[in-house]
Symmetry: C2
Subunit: 245 residues, 2 copies
């Protein structure tokens, strides 16, 4: 599996959310400054995963949520046929495990797409802290509500939109999430393979590849492998219509 790193052994890494560059995206945004200290008692920073390692697996007892600090995570559930269905991609500042809040076991598995570091939120501590901080409880509801909305948006994509529309929407979603992190909204380095995009969007790999090529030829994007440049954002928006996530 994965290994914890004693925080003390990394002197240059200030522990605590206060100094984290993602604190404006992550859970700390829910609490006031004087409450921040009690939140930090819940957080265990410095949880590292190599590419392909799991943060948790479906059906394991649910213990923690994790904030992505760097890298990228995919979550997926297994169908009874043993196929995997990707339910989401999570970038730095985003939190995984909320779909299991309140459940006994993890509802999905979470796997690193590349070398990633996470912060761990112990669920039992988070729950009892939420008893004391109304803001936090409210924010947890909000985060879960967002999970539902994202999943419903995915359902709409899958049931009503063509391959072109799904892929355009996904590129725009990634773009807006990149720009939240103050990265370029047009020069994307995708953390996931075509295979994963296809799985997530309910398409065949070949279809994803063909659509990307077509987008490239029609001037909407430039793409070579995982490096994608959005050349005509408005054109993509016109295609996607329903902005995913």
């Amino acid at each position: 599996m994965s290994r914890r790193i004693a925080t003390e052994s990394i002197p240059r890494l200030k522990p605590g959310c206060e100094y984290c560059s993602l604190s404006k995206l992550c859970l700390p945004l829910a609490v006031s400054e004087d409450e921040l200290e009690s939140l930090e008692n819940v957080v265990h920073p410095g949880y590292n995963l190599d590419r392909g390692e799991h943060a948790f697996r479906q059906r394991e007892p649910f213990r923690s949520c994790y904030a992505v600090r760097s890298g990228a995570i995919k979550t997926y559930i297994l169908t009874d046929r043993g196929e995997e269905q990707i339910t989401g991609f999570y970038l730095p500042g985003e939190i995984i495990g909320f779909d299991s809040m309140g459940a006994d076991n993890y509802a999905c598995s979470a796997k690193a797409l590349e070398r990633s570091s996470l912060c761990e939120f112990a669920f039992d501590k988070m729950e009892s802290l939420a008893q004391q901080l109304p803001n936090l409880q409210h924010h947890l509801f909000q985060l879960m509500s967002n999970e539902i909305k994202n999943s419903q948006t995915l359902s709409v994509q899958l049931s009503k939109h063509t391959a072109d529309e799904r892929i355009a929407a996904m590129l725009l979603s990634l773009s807006s999430r990149f720009s939240r992190r103050r990265l370029s909204p047009t020069e994307l380095t995708l953390p996931m393979a075509r295979h994963d995009i296809a799985n997530y969007l309910g398409l065949a790999v070949e279809t994803v590849s063909r659509v990307m090529t077509r987008f490239h030829k029609s001037g909407l994007i430039e793409a070579q492998g995982r490096n994608v440049t959005l050349k005509d954002v408005e054109g993509l928006q016109a295609l996607s219509i329903q902005g995913a996530q």
Copy 2:
């Protein structure tokens, strides 16, 4: 819209969850008996809807969740094209509005498929009560988690399963939810039209109709209109594989 009925005007309807036949399915199952009284302060029973009326509409300010007491409700979201995408069907004992918990506005609209009665849970009261009752807070997380799981299950249906499989899974889901209410698990009276089934499952109406006819001819079910009898549950299970909801 819809109208409240002063509880006093319905003497035969005992107010309060204690006497409700659905209390074992609904929110009261989260709290102990001595806590039940405080929960009842949150609940406003006797909220009636005629067929086609809305309990709430997407983007209205979020105020309440509603437990279905009788009838049936569909929830749906609007795509930017104005099409509707049904996100769930809710039967007695089930609760609508949890996908909006913590949000400012309703994430979806809720419409009665037939004459229905609801119990209203005011969100602000529920939230502050959850501050006091850890069990309740935990149960709310659990209910939201279930919403996520259901939505993810729908996504799997939409992206990986054929029309036959989706319809088999839906019939089985309805069957198990009927039997939870101590109704026959094989003699179903569907509260929704083919149109709604098709929309929910991401299919054309004609496909739903054809599949139902095919199921009938192959002895899996008997169907005339909304009256469906499951004749070969195991056969349906073999088809569906991934049991929805």
